[in-house]
Amino acid sequence: MTSSPPSHAVEMKDIVIRFPGVLANDRVNLTLKHGEIHALLGENGAGKSTLMSALAGLYKPSSGTMRVHGELVDFNSPKDAIAKGIGMVYQHFMLVPTQTVTENILLGLNEPKFFMDLPKYDQKIRDLQDQFGLRVDPTMKVWQLSVGEQQRVEILKTLYRGADVLIMDEPTAVLAPQEIDELMNTMRSMTKQGKSIIFISHKLNEVTAVADRLTVLRKGVATAEGMDIEGLTGEKLAELMVGRKVIFRVEKKEQEPGDVVLDLREISAQNNKGVRALNKLSLKVHQGEILGIAGVAGNGQSELAEVITGMRGCEGSILINGEDVANTEPSAAIARGVAHIPEDRTGVGSAPNMTITENTIMKNYRDQPIGNKWSINFTEARDHARGLKDAYDILAPNVRTMARKLSGGNLQKVILAREITTNPKLMVAMQPTRGLDVGAIESIQRLLLEQREAGTAILLISEELEELLTLSDRIAVLHEGKVMGIMDAENADVKEIGLMMTGTKRSDA
């Protein structure tokens, strides 16, 4: 029959979620027991957030059933999910900075009706805090709070609304280590009082420290469903997350790397939130070599690329052909032959309302023959752009087409064409093939290999292990802003890389 044991807080069965052209979740099962912490793991884009959004009422599954406390549910909006006691703590906080903690918690509720008797509600919230050990002064304004405190407000918000199932979307990503410990204590105290928690993470140590069971997703498919944490090894987890794949290697010419081009010495830097993202990181990249950087997103990759290209300040030294360019402007890096394929093609790599021509001359508009002393020769610029359009096979009506009208792959080719024509000594490529179709991926990869043959030192940062193994000469694994290890791509062990990505080193290594 359709009833299920009431001991299950949530039961998701055969969930399929389909977006146009993408199968985000393919028949996934997830059972959350009462009072447990259930970890949900997977790489970026594995479908974790999508699955949880369905549980929080944001998307409707294409097929499959969901039960909450044994009751069959069909959510049409997040409101329905909240009514059933499901609360989501988002990674990006949804708080009003100028209002107090209490005001933020009460926002959108029917109570208080007209008169704001705030002290009364401050007390209510203090009581709730005492119950779960979530310390934050209810009368403080949100902007005065630390990130960790803001997160507590988010948790309090869901608890105040009567949630007994909490979904926490990468709650540790924004926290400092001691804050993470505090959060874990809170999670344990919540489950002791009957709450059930789904904990999204991709950090092995956190999962083993706090979770009871885990579910792992890979490309929308569950590779582990409700597996016990006990006895789980790092190797096993890495295998579940990354998978063992037959790796197809494209033609890569044998070549000896030359002199050191990029020499990073003990680089430390902070991310935009002021949290340390790079931690005394040292690396060398040689002429004619592709050094791949593997790692789970958010372990310092973006900051590494930005530090080298002069877009972010840092401690330590960055030697490019022997010259220190740490803490300079991007122009200093450009002048020393550093090309940059940025992670964000539309937000950083191009000007959306300018033409292909204007986008291709971004770095050489001052150089002959395009640039004269004061002016730009637009006839030359257009010829230059036309040449690139043909050479790189950029599909667009003409070179007057605005950058925002190009597809991702064609825009990426514009960026790559522009960067390659600067004859770089060093190229920093961040996620160069992300979101592109197969054909575009192949041509971008081929261009990178051509650059390697031309003697450029290339730092390739990617979340696609397969891509790194195909293109790189060596692979460095980044974890929490540190290099966990460097290995030859030729005989790299995928499992070992996966292990390092989660922050563990094989003891015998």
Binding site: T309, M311, E329, P330, S331, A333, I334, A335, H340, P342, D344, G347, V348, G349, S350, A351, P352, N353, M354, E358, I361, M362, K363, Y365, R366, G371, W374, S375, I376, F378, P397, R400, T401, M402, K405
Partner: protein, 367 residues
Amino acid sequence: MNLPYTVIFEKRTEDYPKWLPAVTSLASVIVAFIISGIVLKMIGGDPILVLKFFFSATFGSWAVFSDTMVKATPLIMVGLACAVAFKMKLWNIGAEGQFYMGAFFSSLVVLIPMVNLETTPKFIVIALMVIMGMIGGAIWGFIPGYLKAKYQVNEIIITLMLNYVALYWNNFWIFDKWSDAGFQMTPQFEKVAWLPRLSDLAKEYKAFSGITLHLGVVFGIIAAIIIWWILERSHWGYEIKLIGDNPQAARYAGLNITKNLVLVMMLSGALAGLAGMSEISGVVHRLQEKISPGYGFTGIIVAWLAKLNPFAVIIVSILFGALIIAGRQIQPSGIANLLQGIILFMVISSDVLLRYKIRIIRLEQEA
């Protein structure tokens, strides 16, 4: 019964032809005139008569056209000032204050005086006034530019507030220091500080007698050409557009954004300051309280209606100059304001035509 046709808006997938903005803008001005006509008819006026009068009062003869151009002259320069700043998405709404500072600084040449006005040749006095006027405006642009570059202070607020500072700064000097017998104005400037007018040539060419058009209009046109060249041909213009379109990309491309920010605000201020100089030296011939009926603010509208194109700024300025003149002649004067408002609405809404294609399609006849 339903109509057998329906109108659909289709998002343009490719770029619109280059001539389209000009056509839609012109069409919207015509539509604005038609709507104003309907309003006039409704309140019992004679729209045809008003329209005829509008054109005869503004473009009807060389004399009135010259008056229109005199009004258009400061608008051209102020409009360019706004257009340059807006290109970089710097919201300089302080052209009014920069205008006043330009007027004040150029007046200093005469009021201090900085040179011996009896012996110095006219062209040197005028050149000095031009330079001083532009410096005055540039200083008033530098302040908000520097504050934004250095401390991320919102330029809208600073430029707006500096308008009042400039106004009262001016008032202080004309009331207290250089007042002409207690009136709120300085004594009239010596002729050497007047911009040449066409009427100065009346002796040689009879037709020019009474024509008040002064050299300032040439400054405006030269400024438009230079600004066009800067924006469309120079390195600097490319940088301005790149920063305006995507500051992140500009930083990535190695541009110095803070330097450009200050420079563009200074250029913008200098243009508005030049307008102030031209008005002082070409029309008023003295520093006084109300030299601008809000040119600095009209300049914002001019720049937008011209879609930040320097040459279109000239044309739009002439239209607005005509509206100012007509407003003086037509009673009640609100009619010109009405027309101005409707034109603004029409031109702004015509933007839809640039982004969408409008199609009229025949509905399938239902059986």
